[in-house]
């Protein structure tokens, strides 16, 4: 639960829910937007993580 991935999922889920609730009025639209935002956040997080993997730090 306190792994980086687990906390990233929890954080992304919370932010997606709040953004979607702010931007849409109908519950179905809120759900769809939250799902898209969550996918985008997680996808971007994992993608950026892989890009950083190749950086010699």
């Amino acid at each position: 639960m306190t792994s980086h991935l687990g906390l990233m999922v929890l954080f992304s889920l919370s932010v997606s829910i709040v953004f979607a609730t702010l931007q849409r009025d109908a519950p179905r639209e809120q759900f769809l937007l939250a799902a898209r935002l969550l996918g985008g956040f997680l996808g971007a997080g994992i993608l950026i993580g892989w890009v950083l993997y190749f950086l010699p730090l």
């Binding site: 829910i17 709040v18 609730t21």
Partner: protein, 130 residues
């Protein structure tokens, strides 16, 4: 015949809604009858705040000598009463050596900032823009 004055927003009411929305996440929307939105904001933002505390994050004090700390304190303060109550109880001191310290900070800071967005949304609704 005199012209009818244009309708102006009731600033006292809007200020009260803004204060309620700051004090308790979602309270502004609940006041305005947006029950579903208000409950979602209330549960989600309070959970983020509690997770931040559980992850041993810190509620930052206003230290003007350290501008970044003061900015983070301002963001924390966005959550209203939960922030003030937690500080009054002496909790939220954070544990810098904890692995989850920075995660906890992030959860609480972002919860406060998101509540500022929710407050602005409540004002938009109160003024009839949404």
């Amino acid at each position: 015949m005199t012209a009818k004055p244009a309708s102006r927003p009731d600033f006292t009411r809007i200020a009260l809604i803004l204060a309620a929305a700051w004090a308790l996440p979602g309270a502004g929307h609940l006041w305005l009858g947006r029950r579903q939105k208000g409950l979602i904001f209330l549960v989600t933002l309070l959970l983020m705040f509690v997770f931040g505390l559980w992850l041993e994050g810190r509620l930052f004090p206003f230290e003007l000598k350290q501008p970044l700390v003061a900015l983070m304190a301002l963001a924390d303060l966005g959550l209203g009463l939960p922030y003030l109550i937690t500080r009054a109880l002496g909790a939220g001191g954070g544990r810098v050596v904890a692995v989850t310290y920075e995660y906890g900070n992030t959860f609480m800071i972002v919860a406060g900032l998101l509540n500022v967005l929710v407050m602005l949304d409540a004002v938009d609704v109160a003024e009839g823009r949404k």
